[in-house]
Structure formats: C-alpha cells, structure tokens
Symmetry: C2
Subunit: 221 residues, 2 copies
Amino acid sequence: MQRRKNAGRPAGNEGEKVKADLMDAARRHFLQREFKAVSVREIAESAGVNGAMVNYYFGSKQGLYMAMVDELLSSLEASLAELGGDEALSVTEFSRAYTQVLLENPWWPNFLLREVLIKEGESRNAMVARFAGAFAPRLMASISCKIRDGQYRDDLDPGLTMLSMIALTVFPFLAKPVLETVLGRDMNEEIAARLVEHNITLFHSGVLHAAANKEGDEHAD
Amino acid sequence: MQRRKNAGRPAGNEGEKVKADLMDAARRHFLQREFKAVSVREIAESAGVNGAMVNYYFGSKQGLYMAMVDELLSSLEASLAELGGDEALSVTEFSRAYTQVLLENPWWPNFLLREVLIKEGESRNAMVARFAGAFAPRLMASISCKIRDGQYRDDLDPGLTMLSMIALTVFPFLAKPVLETVLGRDMNEEIAARLVEHNITLFHSGVLHAAANKEGDEHAD
DNA sequence: AAATATTAATTAAATGTTTAATTAAATTTA
DNA sequence: TAAATTTAATTAAACATTTAATTAATATTT
C-alpha cells in the first residue's frame, strides 16, 4: 500500500495556492513558448503539483491558458493606465512611461507578437486594438499637431515618425535575448534609463524644426 | 483492395520535386510556429504528399527542420554578403542594404528571435554570432570613428547609437503583422523605401554634429 | 525483372483528459 | 466533547487521442 504524500484538504485557504502556483508556472512557460509547444505535464511539474490539478481548477489546458492571458492583460492594462487620459500623448511622455511598463513586463512585446503572428482575422484585430489602440492614436495626434504648429519639421511623415519612436522604445525589449547574448549583461533599470534619454535626444534633435537640420539634408556618407 | 493513386517511380527527376515541395512547406510552417507546434502531417499535407515522405527524404522531422534551417541560413548569408567586406559599414549603407535583405526575407527577424528565445548556452551564442557578428562590429567601428572625427556629436553613446539604427531598420519587419493589422495594408517595396529614407534623415539630423542640435538639447515637451 | 518511388497501415511514445482512491479538514450529531 | 459524516483537495492510474516513425505492399520506369 503506497502512501500518498501531501494529499487531503489543506488548512484554511491553502487550496488557492496550488491554483496560483499553476498560474505562475503557466505564465513562465507560455510567455516563452507557444501553446502547442508546452505540455500540461511540464507546467504541473514546474508548479510541483499533479497534472490533474489543471483540469480540476481550470477545466482544461486551454482554460488555464486563457486564465493566464486574462491575468496578464489585466495587469498590463493597469500599468498602461498610467499613460491614460484622453489628451494628446507627447513623444517624451510615451517613451518614459512605456519604458517603465516594459521594465515591469519585459516579456510583453514578444508575447504580443507571437499571438498576433499565430492568430488571424477578428481575434488578431481585437488583440492589436486593445493594446495599440490605447496609445497610438493619441501619440499620432500629438506628433501631427506639433508638425502643424511648426515645432517639428514638416518634411517628415507623421506615421513613420511615430513608428520611429515606437521602434526606438520597444525594439530593445524585443531583442532582449539577442542583446544580452551580445553584450553579456542583461538590461537593468539603469541601462533602460540611459536608453530612454538617448532616444529622446536623438529623436528630438532629428525632428525639431531647426534651420540647421533642414539645410543638413545631404548627409556625410 | 484499394487503388493507390499516383504511386511509383515518377518520370524524369520529379522525385526531387517532392523533396523541394516538402522544404517549401516546412519553411512556411517553421517560420511562423516553433518546432514542437508544427506536425509532420501539417507539413506533408501542405506539400501535397504523404507524411512518410518526410522520413524517406529527411530521416525525421528533426532532419527536415535542420535541412530547412540550413537552406535558410545559406540563402541569408548570400544576401548578407552584399554588405560584406572588411571595411567600416556606414549607417546609410547598412540601412539600405539590410532593408533590402529584409524585403527578400521578411520572416527573418522573427525567426531568429524565436530561436534565440528557445535555445540557450552555446547553441544560442553560435546563432547570434553568425548573424549579428557579420555586420555589428563594422557598423560600430564606423560610428565610433565618426564620433572621434567630430562628424557625429560626441555626447551620444556609440553602442546605443548603433542600437537605435538597428531598431529603426529591423523593428518594422518584426512588427509586420501588427503594423499590417493597424494600417490595413502590407509593407511593399515602396513603403520600405520611404521608411529607409525617413530613418536615414531622422538619424542623421539627430546625430550630426551641428551647432543647432547641441543647443537644442532642452526639448519642447 | 530490377530498381525506385509512393502510399496505407501499423507501432510506440507522448499528451490532454477522466476516473477512482485517498487524505484531511470542516461540519454535524449524539 | 467525541464520534460520525460530509466536503474538498490531491494523487496515481487508466483512457483516448495525437504524433513521429517504421514497415510492407503497390505502382511505375528503365
């Protein structure tokens, strides 16, 4: 007669701990690899519980995945609320605030990209709308406005200009594993802060409507 | 007794066609989803042949994958050879040539990132070294040199500056599925060409050592 | 006929899910 | 309060399905 280890009803609310452990393990795995590539057994082993717990608490592997994504998106939306409001969003504000969000959720761009790449149609649109729609229109408005006012040079396309700023902000996090391999050290807050200031300087020097810029259109190369 | 359709030795060299079809189908699938998430059945069906053909021609799923990656990397290295040589690689040269490579291989950044994210240790290092090592050091040299010469402003970190240019060039391709969902149209050569010129203008205006830039350090926001 | 190419059927391993047994806490009853 | 019962949580094992790989039969070309 084998003895089961640790079975039975736990004291107080400890049952919720298993659920939370499963969520944590699921997050670790699903943020890195896509749904089909992760097995329930792997997740359960990571969480240190039996695989059947996934079905007990979440109904199915799919259910666990959806719960985990939900939690993820909610926490992200909470962070994104910092750049909330209805007013225009300046490039500087965006860069600083979004970098802060990315420091807290460095996995986010990779995950979104993977999801969008796999999904299609309405499901894809919803995902993109939910997280690009939150800031892109207001960032665009701010840039267009500055171009109209003559603060930014008027020979740059506002859409491409916005894309540039997003690229400068997001790419380092997307390429994190590559950069860390190249540089040999991982991105910390200090490096991120330097990066933000670098980007803002570069962007504004390039985009501000200064006489010296306009006549410098022919480049050195 | 069921009748097999189309079995037997094909005319001429048509056998190689099956092999090539399998490679094509494998590329389409593996560029989008990771190894474990793609089944041999899917690939074979895409190629319009029986699944056993994978084992017949490539020994195993793993074998097909490796053959496909090999072909992929070779073709990419051939493209990358355009920005070959030992001399310094100017930012403009890099941007134009690498965008050309990306237009021919738009899947590439996503694939590399996924591979690097999944792999680790030596395997990861080799992958990164093979494709970042090809141009990064020479791009870096070019930037450092221009800073030393006073052509570029000397208050920007050369590493971050290189990162900026790579971000501007690569990000639009990484985010392709997102951008296409947002914009409603896909990236063609004409848009890419405008993007390149935009990036070069923005970068150089921001980075050139002009008096107007240096005194413009305090920004409008 | 011999060699080659292709396929359907089969096998073995892995995976998501379900079930039944077991344990322990909580609740009820005497 | 002590015993009995119910409820919840957890596990090991089984079950059904999927999947990669293998095999044997079949068809075609030379």
